[in-house]
């Protein structure tokens, strides 16, 4: 029971996501932060208000962090399908590093 709880806590802390999710996060971080920076600059420039620009930049960045840092479920929609443990024997013609496995 305690072990299970510990596992859950570790999973939550580590926040692992699958490969497709990692690809998505990469794009999201770059696009969203660039967008936030651009909005902050243009709103600030046209309203001639540098404090507003700073606040837009910081709040926008905080929102991007909330979006990308926790392991949201949509980053885990393509889990890796592992082979079952000891379930099947490897195929006879499996070649790794030019060596035949039997």
């Amino acid at each position: 029971m305690a072990e299970q709880l510990l596992d859950q806590a570790r999973d939550l802390f580590e926040g692992q996501i699958d490969f497709e999710g990692q690809k998505l996060v990469e794009v999201l971080v770059n696009a969203a932060l660039t967008l936030v920076g651009a909005i902050a600059f243009f709103v600030g420039y046209f309203l001639q208000d540098i404090k507003l620009a700073v606040y837009i930049g910081l709040i926008g960045t905080a929102a991007v962090f909330v979006l990308v840092v926790p392991p949201w479920p949509f980053y885990n929609r393509n889990p890796v399908k592992w082979l079952p443990v000891g379930g099947i024997t490897p195929p006879a013609n499996l070649v790794v590093d030019d060596k035949m496995f039997r």
Partner: protein
């Protein structure tokens, strides 16, 4: 991007890049706003030279010039969204006794008055007491920039600093002029001072000199008792 910590690091790393680039754009946006500072009036109203000591226990007596002046200037175009504060100062300048032969010190220059004009975005940084601070903040309520603060109209202003010279001699000095200077201090970007040449939309600071005047003779003894 596998675990939360890696995602946090990567996102923060890119945030610093974005912040730097936005700051560079803000600094560059200064070039798009024209700067046309102008001076209406800069003249002396009352000039005195008195003898005094640099500090209470000093045995050395020096001559101090007290130059009162009037100033009318429009520096409002220097206030943009990136202006943090404007430092305005008036100097007195006069040629050195050795003339142009005195090298780097051919011109004496001393500040007689200065002032910091904050932009509304920097009002909270002004070195003021609570009541004056409240008043200052209220003067720009709801405004992100307040160019009207750049309109200076000062009549018969007492100098903040009485000036002297290393020799201690200043009375009856000819060819003294007052010069108005400004220094724009932006939130991000470079400091800029008076301009001697036009730079695209930034125009030269003209008419920032007063007429030449002479410092008067020393005041007689009975008049300096108050000091």
């Amino acid at each position: 991007m596998y675990s939360s910590i890696v995602r946090l690091q990567n996102a923060f790393g890119f945030f610093t890049t974005v912040a730097f680039v936005v700051a560079a754009f803000i600094a560059a946006s200064d070039l798009l706003s024209p700067r046309t500072p102008s001076v209406g009036v800069l003249k002396t109203t009352n000039v005195q030279v008195v003898r005094g000591r640099p500090h209470y226990y000093s045995h050395k007596k020096e001559e101090y010039a007290i130059i009162k002046f009037s100033l009318d200037a429009d520096l409002s175009s220097l206030f943009t969204w990136n202006t943090k504060q404007l430092f305005v100062y008036v100097t007195a300048e006069w040629p050195s006794a050795g003339g142009s032969g005195s090298g780097q010190n051919a011109t004496n220059q001393a500040v007689i008055w200065d002032s910091i004009i904050t932009s509304p975005s920097a009002d909270h940084l002004a070195n003021l007491g609570p009541i004056a601070m409240k008043k200052l903040k209220r003067s720009a309520q709801g405004k992100s920039i307040d160019p009207s603060r750049g309109k200076l109209s000062i009549k018969n202003q007492r100098p903040k600093y009485q000036i002297t010279h290393p020799t201690g001699k200043l009375a009856e000095q000819d060819n003294v002029v007052l010069r108005l200077h400004y220094n724009v201090q932006p939130w991000v970007g470079i400091l800029t001072w008076n301009q001697d040449v036009d730079f695209w939309k930034w125009k030269t600071f003209k008419n920032n000199l007063s007429k030449k005047f002479a410092l008067p003779a020393l005041k007689k003894k009975d008049e300096k008792k108050a000091r």
